[in-house]
């Protein structure tokens, strides 16, 4: 018995050794090839590729990928007269900030990325920031909009989209000015999660400056049913209802309002409305919904990589089949910031830890014009490292399409106000 076991073991050992030696020998050329190809910049994307924010997560991924693909087609990022391709690595935060931090650490330690592209949600962005700080790896966030991201004064994180407190309050003012007869009262609903809550707070804080009166401010849990809160607001009959949330709660606000036969004179939401999936899910019921955008395919900006905003739109649409919104544009523009900073830095891959810190300093000095608009990061104050250059535009869904309705100089169509009753 013991003999059988030993001979079996020896055979296995010999067999195993033979396989290992053969595999090693076969593997060697590949190892060499891998080393020969190492001259690429490595960028890590952390975003929600599963979980409740999967829609937005994929939107950000599309934007980042579009830049990488476009720049790689041109031969790569230009540094000191040479071109280096960009290799993308992905980390899924599973719509959970803590998982996002783990994913970032994995990208930095295992994949040895030179730079990170930030998550879709502000919650994850806030969780990933300390990881960037710990490993001294710069991150460019093409999506995060919560002011809390920038209040923390993140040394290594940079934001492309203006913080929501600079946009949501202002947009209420624009709406109030456009409304005829003038809107007087407003009720605010905020979904109780980062970004959505701060959007709600932005609306709430902008009420006074807009010359309106706040009749209700409600924070709702993301899992909750909306009928109680909509009924309560309907009883107060405000002229304007403002909602801070991601796409799913926004869709449910419209559906619940309709099922309770309540339609305010104006319904304003922040992000999500500009995403074509919103209008697609709601069909005709989406019409009249107002939103805020910091970029539209019609803006008059351009750059060397994507061309004009219209050319960028056509490119993105060809790739994904849907019109890009401002988050996708912001993510693509993040790549432009990286490309510009790498060019100015003049260091070839792979970057050393010191190079990465220098890259962070180079990003901080960004001052460029892109298809997305001007990009320049704040150097102090509550919006530290955020790009607050873009001016918010009030948009409205009309006939299933997103059109700019205000301020007057940016308007492409008249603002529909008051909204007609539900059919």
């Amino acid at each position: 018995m013991a003999l059988t076991y030993r001979s079996f073991s020896r055979r296995r050992f010999l067999g195993g050794s033979a396989v290992a030696v053969t595999a090693g020998a076969l593997g060697m050329p590949f190892v060499h090839t891998a080393r020969a190809q190492a001259a690429t910049f490595k960028a890590g994307v952390i975003t929600s590729l599963s979980g409740e924010n999967i829609l937005g997560g994929n939107l950000t991924k599309r934007g980042y990928d579009l830049w990488a693909d476009t720049v790689n087609e041109k031969g790569g990022v230009e540094v000191a007269g040479e071109r280096f391709k960009v290799e993308m690595f992905y980390g899924d935060d599973q719509s959970n900030p803590a998982t996002g931090a783990d994913a970032a650490e994995r990208l930095i330690v295992q994949n040895e990325v030179d730079v990170l592209f930030g998550p879709y949600t502000s919650g994850s962005t806030i969780a990933v920031q300390p990881i960037c700080q710990k490993y001294q790896v710069p991150m460019i966030s093409g999506s995060a909009e919560s002011p809390n991201v920038w209040k923390a004064k993140p040394e290594f994180n940079f934001g492309i989209i203006p913080s929501v407190d600079t946009t949501s309050g202002l947009s209420l003012g624009v709406l109030a000015k456009l409304s005829n007869p003038a809107a007087k009262t407003v009720a605010v609903i905020g979904v109780n999660e980062p970004f959505s809550k701060e959007t709600g707070e932005g609306f709430r804080d902008g009420v006074e400056a807009a010359g309106l009166e706040l009749v209700a401010y409600e924070l709702v849990p993301p899992e909750g049913d909306l009928t109680p809160v909509i009924s309560k607001i309907a009883a107060l009959n405000p002229d304007v209802v403002a909602v801070g949330g991601h796409e799913e709660p926004l869709i449910n606000v419209v559906k619940t309002s309709k099922s309770l036969n309540f339609r305010p004179k104006a319904l304003i939401m922040h992000y999500g409305v500009t995403n074509p999936a919103f209008a697609e899910a709601l069909g005709a019921d989406a019409d009249g919904t107002t939103g805020v955008a910091v970029w539209l395919p019609t803006v008059p900006y351009k750059d060397d990589v994507f061309g004009t905003a219209q050319e960028f739109t056509a490119m993105a649409q060809k790739k994904s089949g849907v019109e890009p919104d401002y988050t996708e544009a912001g993510c693509a523009a993040s790549g432009l910031v990286l490309g510009d900073a790498l060019k100015r830095l003049g260091k070839k891959p792979a970057l050393t830890p010191e190079d990465r810190v220098a890259l962070k300093d180079a990003i901080a000095e960004t001052d460029i014009q892109t298809f997305y608009g001007p990009i320049k990061f704040e150097k102090e104050g509550n919006h530290y490292h955020d790009n607050i250059q873009p001016v918010p535009v009030l948009i409205q869904i009309q006939g299933g399409k997103t059109v700019a309705v205000g301020p007057k100089e940016a308007a492409a169509a008249p603002f529909t106000y008051p909204l007609p009753a539900w059919k």
Partner: protein, 290 residues
Amino acid sequence: MDLFLQTLLNGLLIGGVIATFTIAFQLTFGVLHVIDFAVGGWVVLGGYLGYYIVAGLGLDGFVAIPVAFVLFGAIGYLIGPILYNVRNSRTARPELMALALTFGLFTLLRGGMLTAWGFNTRTVATALSGESLMVGPVTVPLIRVAAALFAVMIAGGLFVFLYRTRYGLAIRATAENRHNAALMGVNIRRLSANVYGLYAGITAMAGVLMGAIYSVNPESGLRYTLFAFFVAVLAGLGSVGGAVVAALLLGVVEAYVATYVGSSYSLLAIFATLFLVLLISPRGILRRGL
């Protein structure tokens, strides 16, 4: 007073909606002794079926309800014996193995839907979507009424089936004592397959309604699983009648707290209710749980 009545109605209807996907969940626990984590997956599958029937065939969302029962009932019938085998295997802690299996099934369903249908949020259009009726000062959303009626019909139907038919007697006997039922000639294996099929079919039907009331995407399943579990614990695991009462109670608590205290406290109130009921009556609200 108008708002008070409206809130009561909202609460009862929220309860009715939750009850739709909880009733059959309870039946499965009663018979198979498995807490089916995949309940949210069946709900979402039903929702997608509704969406594709509306978007692809141009039919009304309600058409999807019987289709969902037949289609997912058949799939559930095939999965039932696997679950039964795991639950009655000779491994240590088969109840935990079964729980892990349903969790795996849920993950598989979620990932499969994500791969097959993408991540966009969809809704199911029905003849009653967005329609409402004014009764005095109260607005009655008709699609929710349809869901509540569906819950009542399913609960009533199950009651008649379980207490007035021979096969129902066999199910109850199995729930009470599997070994004795087998000795009396009940084919437990087939019965388990039938019950799981019935459950998957009913839950997917509820899913069509969820897609019409809210919206559907592959990630929304977890929410339904959690609520089904809350209601099941409050009702007493395995109690079908208790599920309806518990769902209504949770709905009314959620509605009143959201309206008069603040929406941000509604989940807190739900958990407090759950905690209190477990403290006072661990076998559930009607004291009929296992």
